[in-house]
Each structure stands twice: as structure tokens, then as C-alpha cells.
Symmetry: C2
Subunit: 670 residues, 2 copies
């Protein structure tokens, strides 16, 4: 790894690989000034930029480890890049010399046939080459495909999305040129992989650092990134007992249905009831009461503490729900307001966010005392200490960018992307303070750089209850693969999807396909969806109850293997669900495939993600022999193979020479 | 008018009005480099820019009439602006010193409450303040409102539009600060009127000139602009005889229907048959045969020359259709190809444009010989000399930007916007060569700077057959008003609209409302629409035949007044249909109104442009008394008034003190 001064600039090379190049004719640094317009509506953003200037910093003066950059020779220095080389990695730390600069573009050398992966949890594309990816945490949007009718309809409610919208963006990627790049910033960014000869990383601020790491293998890069961003605690033991059932509707309904599931042989590790904290009725329907306190809202679950104990004695945990807002008609709001723990508006009043017929204050996590208070009062006292063993830690994407003032004095536009990680940290610290790390399990959809360290389990957000390309079942795979590249080892999704809108309804087939995928993920968890009454539920059909029961047996059967993957994640940061290219670098067919994944190194899963099919074509990576999990048929890798794939026989294969082959062979008898 | 050197820059003021300002802190000039992507599909463009640099030219060194501009003191000069002051007007001529520069932005001082008009024929907005307007001739697109279902559906066929899409853009506008601005360029441009303190005029080239004119009144500005861009010949006498009937379907159908119209009292000045040149049957339906020669396609109108003579003896003219393409299976294509009169592709073959199951060559109007040949062979020999007295000169917006090479060696991207004017010139020169200027009348939808000099009559393009805000009847008014500001005196539209798609059908009511508007325009002309059989036609209903007949009587009754407007247009360039603000500068209510127009100085027309109404509210400008044309009711200006407006009584008013009041009073007896 060295900096080489060349005519009119410099290069950084690692062995034969050109990692960075700057010359007067092909500058790598641009700075400028823009004025953005950002409009938020319930977590969906409309963002426009008016770019006033963009100046190429063509002149570089190199002075030891400092590179002094200006528009031209003799012009004032605009940016200093300080080079730090650390073994096979390097970074630039940046310092701007003009406070008005708020745009920065950095170019990295690119090759036309390069592949790019990462940028957080990307739901539409695993290989990012050929597109640009704005990086801004938000609702993913319904549809996420501007050419579809459903996105058009959602857009009319300001709720439509596009291919790059995600709850969890991150300005970090891995290149097939065996390096990773990360920009240390929380500003809005847009990584553009459309150009033939360069990647251009745009940031709406002067970023702190550009970090480049190299690795002999992609797994090395994952290991390095996961070490940097933080590794998750191991999964709790109780999770391995079966599926978490998403059931709500009050004590009688929830537990009657749980008993029915148990009676049908479904293995149950937990019951997850979002409505543990009470309901609020609005014209849109029932919403939860965002005061996070069962004591004041006991009507739904009048005997909850006793019920939790009773469940625990039967080996079943109870899970709840929380988010980082406090409704202004709850008990906690006035307390937080009095203590100064809520974000303020320009007049010094509490900034209120409209959630549709109720308003909420924003707990100001930039104030460590506010975070501590929320941890103590809500998460520890109201949840963990009552026996709640896990929860959906929802939201994180909604920090408004206008008229919100935070304790740390930083512009909300710069804190917006930071919020998911602050929210994850709040949850993780509460769990740790209770001594329950690796025991209590919360799951989040929102994320950003560093969420890896705090969030023990990602959840893929609100898929539509369908098989669509940009919104349905298949997007979960891309989400798992891309987030896994950046050190998020644990991923799961709402079995059956969540969003039912504009006449879109979950079918029995969709649920059946989703549950058979979920058996090959670290955590199985169902969700009733946003309109339970109009959508298929697992217990309304005997065949599905039996199918679900069998899939929980598949899941628990594989626990010894899954535990080995958890050990691996803990030691090296490898994700449980992995892109095929991580283990098959030599096979170019694996580089852009986002319909299949490796479940650990030894098992290949190709979920059926289209309706009305009973066979499926799987690509088997080259270099090993594979065994079809349901028939035992042995197949040489390096080919596409079409096999029957009725409900209950999802396309799953394992390596013929796996150390776990006997365990895997047992799948046929379940 | 003078240039004033101030600290760090200069200003140009006219009397008290600041017309231009440049300082180091608030520069007026920016240059840069971008790489555009332009995709064309049947006249619809998808355009994206990748902006690589945008540098403020903060440093101005003034040396006599030359302003030497650079990024900073001591930096090389990038642009020279040479100032020419001419009485109350001025212009900058630009010279770039770096051939790689292909983006330029010029800022003009703005006020928040300013109004802006022009930019060609704008169909959605007359007052342009608060929006940006890309200026690129194209299909207007179906729907032109991205929030509507019809635009969404059209977009799925790449046929949707947006508010700024127009056949006739022009980088010229008039400001309520009593100046006009024009940029002399044919490059893609985008005029941005969204900023509070400046207008920003973006051009994808270094433009030749920025021209600023001032006027004591808005009419002065219209007069100056029309003198610059050219005035149209007077309307032919025959036009005043009544309506031009758009009829096709062969000799029997066309003339039987014409006789029926005459028998119902409709005054007819001409019959316009697009299919004079023969048909081609495709899977989309019947298309015209683009060989522009009746001799080889006599099947539709076997006796056309005799028929034209017969019509002429009865005081009726015959009109046809032509466009600037030659189909490659016609008689003329091989001739033009042999002579080298067709645009070529990169391999030196004739560049073919796909029009849907047939391909055409592009007559290369940058070659004066090619234009002369087309004039002689097609327009003079095949059309004028056979007695065709007028035609739709269609298209002009379709010059592809990729893989088309022209005789003059200029990049097709720079010739694209120039094409409509070249096409108009071709038509006008042919007419002139035949000695028929002011006698033969062609009409165009496409336009650009200078089309005023050549095109005797604009036609508003392909409205949808409905009352919609961005696509229907009302858009014709905005089109007339905005184009009229730039010296286009004559405007008209397809009575009843044209585009019927996605179940959209012309109703009797729509036709009735459209025809009663058309009676108060310079030319009345019907169109059967793109799907005649599925849409209402004027002769399928007795009441409409009578209504149409009466409206042709209204039109012919007003001919003496109309002729006075034609004289005025000829002398001063005032449009026949005028924005109210041209005569009511003192009345701010008139500045943004695009639903009403003055028909000359003395008559006010407020077309009913919504369905299902029988009364209408009109704003009567302040400072004069008005007379309601159908009841004689006298009303003081400066108020909104709601009156009955059944079919046949469109809201029309005239000045109580008009010299034409007796003629106008005669309308009640028609």
C-alpha cells in the first residue's frame, strides 16, 4: 500500500490494484455548494437539490501525509486530505477551509465489469453497479417501482417509493476489485455507480473520512467491516425453540390462537403482541398507544405479568413493541417535557410529529440523559422487568429535518441518518444495563453506520403481501445479502409480509412460500399484517397449520448447524444468510444473483418467489457437488437445475462433503 | 441604459430598473461541463444530465465594452462577455475560452412578486414564476400531469408528458419588470424562475448572446420582439369565409359530409383532408402515406384536381397535410437518397426513423439544396400547383440526437431545437416562390426562435378530447397567450381536441364548448380526432350542426373587426388573442389569468372550460365598462361577475366605448 506521486497528481496502489488516482486532468475531489429542499411526510421524503457550484480540485500539493487541494495552482487551498496508511488499508481524513462548502464528490477508479455490493440494506438490488443510490433513512415506500400502478397510487398519498428507498442505508460498499469503501458521515449521500471509469460518492457535507480496506477474499472484507462497525451478541437460546407468533387482539384472542398453534404441532419460541401497551382508535383504525406502559393500559392484557410467567414456565417468551416517540396525551410526555428530554422547535416548544390524529414528542437521543431516562423508565422498568423478552424497536427513520432542534446543537439534517443507530444504542444499553445482552432480543428495520454494534437482529421492514419484484417476498433476500456484506449477521422478516393496500391481499400461497423460506433464516416470526381481517392468517387453514408446524420442525432440526453459524458470526462477523459470491469467488455466476443465498457455508436456499409454480430453477455454484435436501439427489455444481418445488419442498441444497451432511440428511424425515 | 462599475463587479440599469448585476459575492455567470443522456421515443424525450463542474465566474475585469470573466483573480479567463448597448436595450455576446465548456448559467435579478410570461407556447402555465421550464421541442405528452392516472398510463408507453413539455419552446420571456430576455442558442435550455432573488437561465452550450430589451409598456415589448423574430403575412381572404372542415375518408365521405354541413347553414371556407396523399394500413390502424404525392395514391380522391376546381368555383378551398419525412417505400425516398438530401447515420447510410411499421428518411434542411428540392417537388409541384391552398405542416420536433449526421456538420443535439424553424422556413419559401404568400396558409404546432417569421398560423397541437387542466380545452388559451407574447399573432386549435386514449372520448358538450371558443379566434378548423369512430363528430347531432352553423355566423360577422386586428398584427406584431395584462397593466388581477383572453383590444372572451356548467364567472379588467355580448348588460370593470353561460352563449364582453360596438351589438341577432 503506497502513495505514488505521478505527473500532476498521485495514485494509491495495493499490490497491482489501483485504489485511488488523482490528476489535474482526472481529478478525484470536487467540492461545492448546494441548497437542498427536503419535505417529509410520515417518513417519506421528497428531496431536491439546487446545485450552485461544483469545482474540481485539480491542483494537489503533497506534503508528507497531507494533500493540499485547490481549484488550480496559486488558488487558495479548499480541502486538505490527510492520508493514514494502516497495513493493507488506508483512509483520508478531510478538513475544509471554506465553511460555505456543503457538497463533496469523491471519485474512485472503476471498471466496467465491476460488481458493487452493500450500501446498507438494499431491497431492490444486491449488485449496485449501473445505478445510483441516494443514502437517506426513510420509509421504503409502497411499490418501489415507479412503473407500477401500486406505486402510482401510493405516490398520490406521498407514500410511494423507488428502488433505492430503504429504512437502512449506509455509505459503505464492497467492490469486486477486493476492496471496501466507507465514508464517515451522517449527511445525505448519493453513491453513483453508473459511470464506466469511476464511482462517484456524493456527500452533502465535507465528510470526516474516506476509508478504504483491502482483503485477499470477500470474507476478509466482511470480517474487517464487521470488526469496525461492531458485532452482534449471539442469539438468545430461547429463539431456537421455534417460531415467534405475531398475535394480537387482547389476551383471549392472542392466547387462544397460540394454544391452537401449539395443538397443531407448531413449535413456538415466543408470542409477540404489539398491542401489549394498549390501543388508540383513530379514523384509520386501531393504533397502539405510544406511552409504552402496560400499567395504564391494562384493558387488552389484564393479567399480563402473570400470563408471562405462565408462558415462561412452558418455555415460551413474550415480546412487545416500542418506538422512540411519546404521544402527547400519555403519562410520559409531560415528564420528558419537564426534564427537557424532548426535541424542541424554533420557538422552544416541544417539536411535535403528526402521526395521524395524534401528535408525539421526539425523545432527544443526542442528550445522553434523555436516552438513559428512556432506557430506565420505558425499556427496563416497563418492559424488561415485566418479563418482556424482546420487541420490535420500530421507526428510527422519521427525524424531521426542519424546525427540530436537538440538545447537541447539530443540524437535524445531519442527525437524521444518525438516528437509527442512536435508537439502537438506546435499546442495547438498556438491555445491557439489565444484564440481558444475548437474552433479550429486539429487532429493527431502521439502520445506519454502526447499527451493527447495537442491533442484535434486523427485520426486513414492511414488504407488501405479494410476490412483486420490488416490494414482495424476493426483496427480503436482497436485504439480507446486502446488509450481511456490512457485518449484519442476523436478518429476518415478517412471514407473509405486512403491507396490504389498494386491494392487495395476502394469499395462502404467499404465506406458505414465506414460511418455508423463514425456516432457513436465523429467526422465524409471523406478522398478521396491517389489515389482519382481510389477509390470510396461518391458522385459518389446516394445511397451512400443518405446513407451518413442519417448517418449525425444519428450523429446530437445523439448530445445531445454526448455532455453529452464530459462533462464526460472533468470531468473524460472517452473516448467517450469505451471498453466494462470498464462498464462490471463482464463479462469476454468483456475483449478481439475489434470488438465492447460502445459509452458512454449506447450505444453499433458493426461495420460490413467484406464484403458481410447482418447479423452480436454481443455480448451483461451481466447484462442489450439491445434494437436494428433499430427495437426496446429488448434482454437480456450475449449472442451473430445474426440480419440483411444491409447497413444503423449497429448493434447498447442501454440499455433498459438508461436515453437517448427516444432520441435513435428516430433513427428509421431518 | 448604462453599465456602472461597482465594488467587485458591475450593474446595468435602465432608469431605476436594475437589469443585470454581477459581483464576486453574487456572480451572474457560471460555466461548467456536463454529460447529458437523451433518449427519444416517437418524439418523447427522456433527458438526464450528469453535471461534472459548475464554476462561478466571480472575477470580472472590465475593459471598455468587454467583460473578462474568470473563476478568481489571477485565473485564466474562461468567458468574455461583450456588451452592446442599443438605445433602451442591450445584449451580451459571449465567447468561451475553453472548448470543453458546454454548460452555462446566467442569473438575472428577480423580485419575489414578479411575473414572467413566454418561453414559447406554454400549455400549462401562462405565468411562469415559481417553476422551471426545460426548453426542448418534443411531443407535449399525453396527460402532462404526473399526478393523473392518464399520464401514468401514457408514461407506460413512454408517451406521458409534464407541465413544461411543448411542441414549441423558445428561450425568450417577458418580465413584469418591463423587460424581455432572450438567449440566442438552439441548445437545450432550462429557464428556472423558482428562486426569490434571481432567475437562472441554463444553456447546454455557451450561448451566442443574451439580449435584454426594455419597454415603456408590455405592448412595446411585444412589438420589439415581433420585429426581431419576424411578423407573419396577413391571413388569406378566403379564411374569412367560415370554418375549415377537417374531413377525411375519401372523396365520397368527405364531400358528402361537406354538402351536409353546407345544407345545415355552416359557413365553410375550406375542406381539409389529411388523407389526400393516400393511406398505409398498419396494425395501429390507417396512417397516411408519407410520399406526399396524389399522383401515385389516387385511390382515396380519384378526381381531386377537378374536385378542387369545382370547390374553388363555390368559394371553398382544399387543404392537405405534409411533414418533413419521406417513407422509404415511396417514390421520393430513392430520389432524395440519390441526391444526398437525407440525413445520414454514422456508417454513412440514410438515417431511418421508425414511425411504427414504417421507416422514414429525414430531409436534411441544413442543406439549402435539399430544402429547395423539397419545396419544388413536394410543396410546389405536388401540392400548391394542384390547387392545395393550405396544409398542416406537421412534426418538426423529432430530429433524433444520436446517430444522425447533417450536412452542415453541426451536432444534431444543437440542431434539434432549430428544426421547427427550418421546417417552417422550407414551407414559407415554397409558398413565396409560388407567389402565394398571404394566400396559401399552412399551420404548425412545432416552433422555436424565429418560427414567427415563417409560420403564418400556429396550431395548438394535440389536446386531449376533454376538459382536463393540463391537456384539454383550457390549455389552448395558455398556448395562445404565451406564444402571443413573443410575436406569434395567429393561433388556433383542433375544434374538439385530438387525442382519445385510455377510454377518453370526445363528448358533444366538449365539441360545443370548443366551437364557441373557436368563433373568437383567427381561424376555425375542426378535426375528427385520432379515433373518429369513437368520438363525437359535429354532424352526428342536429343541435350541434345548428350551433356550429351559428358560430360560423358569429365568426364571419366579426370579420371586419378581425381584419383590423390582422392589420395591427402586421404593423405592430400584436397577437389577435391577447393576455389581458397587455392592455390592463394597472390591474394586477390580469397578470396570471390564463382562462380568459382579449380578442383584440376591445373584446374579452372567457371560454367555458369545465363540463356540466351553465353559468360562468368572468373577471372583467378594471378601468373600463364592459357590455355582455348576448344580453347587452353593461358592467363596470374591476370585478368578477357570474352570468348564465349555456351552450351558444360563451362569456364574451366588449368595451362599452369600443369603436366597434355597433358591430358587436349585432351578435345578439345571429
Amino acid at each position: 500500500m503506497q502513495l505514488i506521486v505521478i505527473d500532476g497528481g498521485f495514485e494509491i496502489r495495493h499490490n497491482e490494484t489501483l485504489l485511488f488516482a488523482h490528476t489535474a486532468a482526472q481529478p478525484a475531489f470536487f467540492v461545492g455548494h448546494g441548497e437542498e429542499k427536503m419535505e417529509i411526510y410520515r417518513g417519506n421524503f421528497d428531496i431536491e437539490d439546487y446545485l450552485e457550484s461544483r469545482v474540481a480540485l485539480t491542483h494537489a500539493r503533497i506534503d508528507g501525509d497531507k494533500i493540499h487541494l485547490s481549484a488550480a495552482a496559486g488558488q487558495p487551498e479548499m480541502l486538505t486530505a490527510t492520508l493514514h496508511i494502516d497495513g493493507d488499508d488506508f483512509k483520508f481524513a478531510f478538513e475544509a477551509h471554506d465553511a460555505s462548502l456543503n457538497r463533496c464528490w469523491i471519485r474512485l477508479p472503476a471498471q466496467k465489469k465491476e460488481h458493487i455490493w452493500g450500501c446498507g440494506e438494499q431491497m431492490s438490488y444486491f449488485d449496485l453497479r449501473g445505478r445510483n443510490f441516494p443514502l437517506w433513512t426513510s420509509e421504503p415506500g409502497v411499490g418501489r417501482d415507479k412503473s407500477t400502478e401500486i406505486t402510482f397510487k401510493a405516490d398520490s398519498m406521498k407514500a410511494g417509493g423507488d428502488y433505492y428507498h430503504t429504512n437502512y442505508p449506509q455509505p459503505t460498499f464492497v467492490s469486486s476489485r477486493k476492496y471496501s469503501a466507507h465514508i464517515e458521515t451522517t449527511a445525505y449521500a448519493d453513491f453513483d455507480f453508473r459511470h464506466n471509469n469511476f464511482h462517484e460518492l456524493q456527500v452533502w457535507a465535507i465528510p470526516a473520512e474516506l476509508q478504504i480496506k483491502t482483503g485477499a477474499t470477500y470474507l476478509d472484507l466482511v470480517e474487517k467491516l464487521s470488526a469496525q462497525f461492531g458485532r452482534q451478541p449471539k442469539l438468545p437460546e430461547w429463539v431456537y425453540n421455534g417460531a415467534i407468533l405475531g398475535l394480537k387482539g387482547g389476551e383471549v384472542n392472542t392466547f387462544t390462537r397460540m394454544e391452537n398453534a401449539l395443538n397443531h404441532g407448531i413449535k413456538v419460541s415466543g408470542v409477540w403482541s404489539e398491542d401489549w401497551c394498549g390501543l388508540r382508535v383513530t379514523s384509520f383504525g386501531a393504533r397502539l398507544f405510544w406511552d409504552w406502559d402496560w400499567k395504564h393500559h391494562q384493558d387488552r392484557y389484564p393479567n399480563l405479568p402473570e400470563k408471562i410467567k405462565e408462558l415462561n414456565e412452558r418455555g415460551i417468551e413474550f415480546l412487545g413493541y416500542v418506538n422512540p416517540y411519546l404521544c402527547n396525551d400519555g403519562q410520559l410526555f409531560p415528564v420528558a417535557k419537564e426534564k427537557g428530554y424532548l426535541a424542541l422547535d424554533k420557538d422552544g416548544n416541544v417539536a411535535l410529529v403528526d402521526f395521524g390524529e395524534f401528535d408525539c414528542g421526539i425523545v432527544d437521543f443526542t442528550n445522553p440523559e434523555a436516552s438513559k431516562w428512556f432506557q430506565d423508565v420505558v425499556i427496563r422498568e416497563n418492559m424488561l422487568n415485566m418479563g418482556i423478552k424482546g420487541w420490535m424497536a420500530d421507526f428510527g427513520e422519521y427525524l424531521p429535518t426542519e424546525n427540530v432542534y436537538l440538545s447537541n446543537g447539530v443540524d437535524a439534517k445531519l442527525m437524521h441518518n444518525a438516528w437509527p443507530t442512536l435508537w439502537a444504542k438506546c435499546n442495547a444499553e438498556a438491555v445491557e444495563a439489565n444484564g440481558q445482552t444475548g437474552d433479550a432480543l429486539f429487532f429493527m428495520r431502521a439502520g445506519y453506520t454502526g447499527v451493527q454494534r447495537y442491533c442484535p437482529l434486523l427485520w426486513a421492514g414492511d414488504q407488501s403481501v405479494d410476490f412483486t419484484r420490488h416490494d414482495g417476498l424476493v426483496t427480503v433476500i436482497s436485504g439480507a445479502l446486502s446488509s450481511g456484506m456490512l457485518g449484519n449477521a442476523y436478518h429476518h422478516s415478517d412471514i407473509g409480509g405486512y403491507t396490504s393496500l389498494f386491494g392487495n391481499r395476502r394469499t395462502k400461497e404467499l404465506f406458505d412460500r414465506w414460511v418455508e423460506m423463514a425456516a432457513f433464516t436465523p429467526v422465524m416470526r409471523t406478522h398478521e399484517g396491517n389489515r389482519p381481517g382481510e389477509n390470510f392468517q396461518f391458522d385459518q387453514d389446516g394445511a397451512t397449520l400443518a405446513h407451518f408446524a413442519r417448517m418449525t420442525r425444519v428450523y429446530t432440526h437445523l439448530v445445531p448447524y445454526l448455532k455453529s453459524l452464530v459462533e462464526e458470526a460472533s468470531a468473524k462477523g460472517y452473516p448467517v444468510q450469505r451471498a453466494m459470491m462470498l464462498h464462490f469467488e471463482h464463479d462469476p455466476e454468483t456475483y449478481a444473483n439475489q434470488e438465492q443465498y447460502l445459509y452458512g457455508a454449506d447450505m444453499l436456499v433458493a426461495p420460490v418467489h413467484k406464484p403458481g409454480v410447482d418447479e423452480w430453477t436454481t443455480y448451483l455454484p461451481a466447484g462442489t457437488d450439491w445434494v437436494h435436501a428433499w430427495t437426496g439427489q446429488k448434482i454437480t455444481g456450475g449449472q442451473r437445475i430445474t426440480l419440483p418445488a411444491p409447497i413444503g419442498q423449497p429448493p434447498v441444497f447442501y454440499r455433498a462433503d459438508s461436515a453437517w451432511k448427516e444432520l441435513f440428511a435428516g430433513l427428509t424425515s421431518l
